[in-house]
């Protein structure tokens, strides 16, 4: 008899007598060639080493005791997300996103999750940055996704309340109120470069969904630009996005399937995917 009941006290490792002869099954259920000591997996899984991704973005920090190669943050999030040790890396990554005007929802959600698991390690400053970045990702619902992970208590904080109000205005297309409120809270928003442009892009997106021809004043209100700057803005979009300046102070927006219903691709229901047709290939002989 090679196996026996092992009563497992809570905190110890599990050990089993190894089968010295190396034979395989004894009674069929367990094929125990060798049974190594196992640690409770509540220790964070050790990061596996691998080649550096030369095209990827490196964090550059070496974790103590790990091998020389460090993983890019994206890989960390994909491979070993439930690991309290990567929290500082993720925080640095947020700051990197802010300074280099990039964005990664998955990494930020991972960080918010870790904050949820260990609330005492949460940094409101980082969370604020994540939220601002999420606002800039509109029309994607990233802002709500982040809010789902932030405890109510924390959301009562002044700056978060402001951000929630700003999000509300954007979600309900109340651009004038948004820009007013944003102006009052410049100190919160200016930490993240590119904020204004991102919101203007969102505004243009909503306009393109809605209008074939839109009055200049509406555009002005939406993107918070007036006078000469407005002219420049429109000129830029005429050059690259197909806007056309009509008379009577109107702008024609490029045609897409949302403001020109006739452009709607005959809905995919009409076209039959190839794999369905393959069902009758044998019958067609």
């Amino acid at each position: 008899m090679n196996s026996c009941i092992v009563v497992v006290p809570t905190d110890t490792v599990i050990a089993e007598p190894t089968n010295v002869t190396g034979s395989t099954s004894h009674h069929g259920i367990e094929v125990a060639l060798e049974f190594k000591l196992v640690e409770h997996p509540t220790e964070p899984l050790k990061l596996r080493t691998g080649e550096e991704d030369s095209g990827g973005r490196k964090m550059g920090r070496e974790a103590a005791g790990q091998s020389q190669m460090s993983y890019t943050v994206e890989q960390l999030v994909a491979v070993n997300p439930y690991n309290p040790d990567i929290l500082p890396d993720l925080e640095n990554y947020v700051n990197e996103q802010v300074s280099s005007q990039t964005y990664s929802l998955d990494a930020n959600l991972c960080l918010l999750r870790l904050y949820q698991f260990e609330p005492e390690r949460m940094s409101t400053q980082i969370v604020a940055r994540i939220l601002i970045k999420a606002l800039m990702a509109m029309p994607a619902p990233d802002f709500s996704l982040c809010l789902f992970l932030i405890p109510e208590r924390v959301q009562m904080d002044e700056q978060f309340k402001t951000l929630i109000v700003l999000s509300h205005y954007l979600e309900t297309a109340k651009f004038r109120q948004f820009w007013d409120e944003a102006a009052k809270n410049r100190h919160i928003l200016e930490v993240v470069p590119g904020f204004e442009q991102a919101i203007q892009e969102y505004a243009v997106h909503v306009l393109s969904l809605t209008y074939q021809k839109v009055p200049r004043s509406v555009v002005a209100e939406a993107i918070n630009v007036e006078g000469v700057s407005l002219d420049k803005f429109i000129e830029q979009h005429v050059a690259k996005s197909g806007w056309v300046v009509e008379g009577k102070g109107e702008v024609s927006l490029p045609r897409n399937e949302f403001n020109h219903p006739e452009l709607k691709r005959t809905s995919s229901a009409q076209s039959i995917p190839l794999d369905r047709i393959t069902r009758i290939f044998p019958l067609l002989g």
Binding site: M1, S3, C4, I5, V6, V7, V8, T10, D11, I14, H27, G28, I29, E30, L33, V38, P41, T42, L45, P81, Y82, N83, P84, L105, D106, L109, L112, R113, F117, E118, P119, A140, P141, S144, L145, F148, L149, E152, H168, E171, T172, A173, K174, V206, L209, T210, Y211, Q212, K213, V214, V218, F258, N259, P261, A269, S271, I272, R276, I280, L283
Partner: protein, 573 residues
Amino acid sequence: MAEVERPPSAQVTNYPLKGQLTHTNTLHAIKIVALGTGSLSSSAVGTLICVKQAAMLAGGHDYEDGLQSSIDGGISYDPSFVPDPVKSFVVHLYRHIREKNVYEIHQMYETSFHTLSDRMFKDTPWPSVEAVAQYVDNDHVFCLLYREMWYRHLYARLSPTLKQRIDSWDNYCSLFQVVLHGVVNMQLPNQWLWDMVDEFVYQFQSFCQYRAKMKSKTEQDIVLLRQHDQAWNVYGVLNFLQALMEKSSIIQILEQEKEGLEQFTATDGYDYNGGSNVLKVLGYFSMVGLLRIHCLLGDYQTGLKCLLPIDISQQGVYTSVIGSHIATVYHYGFANLMLRRYVEAIREFNKILVYIYKTKQYHQKSPQYEQILKKNEQMYALLTICLSLCPQVNLVDEIVNSQLREKYGEKMLRMQRSDDESFALYDELFSYACPKFITPSAPSYDEPLVNYNQDAYRLQLKLFLYEVKQQQQLSVVRTFLKVYSTLSLEKLASYMEVDESTLRTILMAYKHKTHSVGADGKTISNADIDFYIDDDVVHVVEAKTPKLYGDYFLRQIVKLEAVIGDMDRVKLE
């Protein structure tokens, strides 16, 4: 083994089921059953049974406590007593597992276990694993499996103590570690493997809820909690599921299957080459487990990502077990609802509700029947919510539609208005149908004892209602769009009693809310009624669903060929 007093006379006394259960009370005096069926050994007949603290049964190191408790209350269940049916159950199950008779294992697991539970262990746990071990050669793995079933039974019928919860966690650790080491050489039915993952997640959820109810905790409890802070730790739980997924390489297997290099779905996950299906299938179901946990945490995006390798537009191993099928679609639909992808949610809910409608009669005898019905009702509620926010009734089958009208027809009408009453209805349906959200972090045991188990749920509800509020104006716009084909902004503004600039805002909001961002980042229209503005005129566009001739013809062609084939095979004498 402990010596247990066995009062000789046969008495049947009722004790309140949960009345005497407290965390420190080591004695659970539950209903006393006189075993009087013929198949039991004579010593069992007329014996009073009672329950000892489970630490005795499972751990063995709180032996003294257990002994103490038996002196306390008088009548305790003898965990070392193994009635004959149980003996034969474990012997047969052990043999079948050794011989890999999956069908037999499934029968015993699904049917015999529950029959025995109903008959003999309605309110008491099964005999302890130490007692049955002798009948199964003290096989280590079988004992882990038995213990897993033991705890599952405990959770289902009784109320586990803190110690029992912790011991169950230890058992899962041992069991999963054995599997992860790849040393198990058995084939288990998918039902069992799904139940393991499902129960694991359920016990985690239950523990978080339990831990958050600080008010009723005693000093002893808190000491125990502090001591065993690794038990049901969120990192541990998530990492186990992740490890199962990775070790089994299930993602690669599924990819390779698409190219025809692997057989997995085709064999329902079973291994016909003499190997074991346990690790692979556990890895597969872990993906659903991860989806579920992420939904409980409020992280819907990541949850959906975890499920990505499984193509839910197709059949798969996840459909081989009804529990897993329903759990997958329920959480998938819920996550999409919270991500505002209403069309996707409606589609999937519709499919599963049709499926349940057609197949639920076959599950009437199954122990999961109640759970199936409950989830069915919850999904109808979620579907109602989706359809109220995104009225695309054409996506819904006639069967489902009629059920929907029956259950929620009136409520749906009220929900489409934008007043306080509709709010209350959204609240009601959401609260009924949502998962039991959890707070994953341990409380600070020094702070005043407060119950905070509802915090997570309250947050999700609040954010959901916030979204509903933002969308309330839209239904007003819709009613006007339905009636006109073109309408000047001025007129519409006056009908809606707002000024033109506010109207433009509302119309833009309508556009934004009805055009969600899909998983690939592209904009998708959810709207059944759409419009565009040209100059100062609103042009209404009604989305027409084209008749799906293509699909219909394909189906009929295949059917006809099948009929011809059948006819060809008929030999005329």
